[in-house]
Amino acid sequence: MHEMGIANSILEGVAQELKRRPGSRAVSVGVRIGELAGVDPDALSFAFEALTLDTDFAGLAIDVEYVVPRSRCTECRHEFDVRNFELLCPNCGSLSTKRLSGDELEFKYLEIEEDVPQAK
């Protein structure tokens, strides 16, 4: 399942960020995932738990913001959220729309605790 690969990439990103902040501990990581990215929320949680168990990241929480795809009308330039694959521009009713986003897989933030005593 590719949620394992995604969970792994999230943890690698966290590890990279922590290297820039020696003495910090990651508490939670925020990510943004588009509905069209094809990532299953339960599978991602499961993969995340499995990968963090019994590691330095045990207990690290993941906070996922799922975002709805956005489109732009090519006639009136209105941008709108797309729900249930609506084709019509809600502003002018045109069928001529262009999908802008919907498959994001991005980092948002990392919540850290600083000045953590280093284990010897």
Partner: protein, 226 residues
Amino acid sequence: MTRVPMEGKVLNENARVAAELRERFVARRVLVVNLVSSPGSGKTTLLEKTLGALPQASRVAVLTGDLQTENDANRLKRYGFPVKQIVTGGTCHLDARMIEKHIADWDLAQLDMLIVENVGNLVCPSSYDLGEAAKIVLLSVTEGEDKPLKYPSIFFKSELMVLTKTDLLPYVPFDADLALANARRVHPEMEVVRVSCLAGDGLRDWMNWLERRREKFLASLTQPVG
């Protein structure tokens, strides 16, 4: 506790390798297309017809991916073009690293087009950029017309839908116009080509699409960015 903003994409490693590959393909002027579909939609057969129709002097190569066996590569090698099999073992999709590894001993300057046949899977290949210029999705008339709605991510990302096995249309309740309408719900600009490899229908349209796509690719290389 402090919240620090983080930027950047997840799937970083694959995206990084894919971006490097894309730069190399652009530098060497190689059009790369990534064929995706459910297992059994007819990717390999379409490629057999494609390689069979190309002039022998064409500078085309193929990478074909499967979990196991070299069957597809063996079928495609008969046409005299460079073909390599990527055996993933268990991975359900090709990734950029696999492409990078398998083209290592090819001279990209000797190629005009590289066709990548992905593992039969409408789900995972959507998440793995291979550095290609275009994704092409195949849908056969023995599948459901609502496939584009069930797998929106891959249909959203594909430029062209190839409707395959059209010779079977008289025998199956498939509504081709509905399938196209569904594809356009998810991706309004989706182009379509209808083919039957068995009957030979639509193959000229498919070859023409590839030709036009290569021209579009070459034209984009001469345009200033930004």
